[in-house]
Assembly symmetry: C2
Homo-oligomer: 258 residues x 2
């Protein structure tokens, strides 16, 4: 079952047994807020907006998982419940405001509640990712995100961001071949960068082990429909393959159909 999915313990894993050395991660895949959190006190608009998740990112990541025959790990709850790209002691792991939205259900959280959410959502995700990487030989970690075209009232021109922390190898390789592989406006460490705390997953799971890694941010107006998400997945998959080839690597066991 090459495209088998399992959803357990608050982690959704697709293609667990995939042959590729690539490991795809989507930490902001879901806008789901479990009932017990009572919508975190948010109005429906806010719960569906980019403050709650990365719209389109899961669709892109799922498409890449298919194109590359690569395992994909997704979170199953909104980043407002727990942001799995943040360590437990980061204030924005369970933010009480995001952009212009106050998150009433996160105001004045007790240490007990922070620890409970950490155990429920962060630990299972981090442990599953760690196990997945441990099971592979020379894994390559790729995290897939999306960003809003207008932030705090200002439009963003960048269309795809290639983000890295101290290990620039894969990001450099992607940027070097970007002009051959993608027509979108690509920038390095934009619209965020490591100083914004967005490279937690890379810093925790890839860098200490020497695994190649990169974080890809796509402007969400470019991936607003399933069709556009699949097209973007194909573009990113080919781009990644070319970048890996330039490093002398292949996404082994990954017969890309695009």
């Amino acid at each position: 079952m090459p495209n088998a999915q399992r959803d357990q313990n608050n982690v959704k894993i697709t293609r667990d047994a995939a042959g590729s050395s690539l490991v795809l991660v989507c930490e902001h895949a879901s806008s789901h807020i479990p009932k017990e959190f009572k919508d975190l006190g948010l109005v429906p608009d806010a719960r569906q907006s980019h403050v709650a998740w990365d719209p389109g990112a899961a669709g892109v990541a799922q498409g890449m998982s298919s194109c590359l025959d690569a395992v994909l790990l997704e979170t199953t709850v909104s980043r407002l419940v727990y942001d799995c790209n943040r360590p437990p002691n980061a204030p924005d792991a369970m933010p009480d405001k995001s952009e212009m939205h106050v998150v009433p259900g996160n105001i004045g959280l007790s240490e007990t509640e922070r620890a409970r959410r950490t155990k429920l959502f962060y630990e299972p995700f981090a442990m599953a990712l760690r196990q997945c990487l441990t099971d592979k030989t020379s894994p390559v970690l790729i995290t897939i995100h999306s960003f809003t075209p207008i932030y705090n009232g200002t439009p963003r021109e960048v269309e795809i961001g290639v983000l890295h922390d101290s290990d620039v190898r894969l990001a450099d390789a992607m940027l070097s071949v970007a002009s051959e592989c993608v027509s979108a406006k690509v920038e390095r460490n934009a619209p965020y960068g490591p100083s914004d705390g967005v490279t937690h997953t890379l810093r925790t799971h890839a860098i200490p082990y020497g695994h190649l890694n990169v974080m890809i941010e796509v402007r969400n107006d470019l991936i607003s429909t399933p069709k556009r998400q699949m097209e973007m997945a194909e573009t990113l998959s080919v781009w990644l393959r070319v970048a890996l080839q330039s490093l002398g690597l292949t996404a082994e066991g990954a017969p890309c159909t695009v």
Copy 2:
């Protein structure tokens, strides 16, 4: 079986079901070098010396586990095979020299061999510790080490070091009550400190979660026999209890017999 031990997957766990919130760790418990590593090319003297392990530390940690009814996790191989208090990308995770000793079996290690040892020794230890901490409410992490009285030919006067990284709470509490609890010469962040990379376990498993934590270093001439190790364990256990009490905490479920 309150003092049950299990030794599996290269981690030795004592009192897995202990009631205390304290979690004891001894990363340099063993001088064992599995046969496949052919003594790492070392002569017997080097294999038994402090370059291979922390002599006496395991005995102290086991005594503390008993006094405090606290779980203890120990490594089962020499730190020269893999130093579980170092991340995989640290050169001294698998050092090719230590103090004045060259470690022939670690010279020019391939990436493949480094990754293999990481999977065999570091990951199981880190995962077991992480699971153990996750299973507890408000755990307190304490790592137990020993250091040599003479280093690179220079005698060391400090007898017990209380080490910390950015979270000073428990170390400060211990240092505040040190004069009441211990007659030995105690120093902060000595003979090492966080800049020497020795706080990896604390930084990885405690600080991101807000768990109280401290690293205790004992000069190994003070714990050279089982009797002295048990006496030191009793001293450290009472000292820890007093320090925790000064923070308004107890080592709950830990009926100390000393």
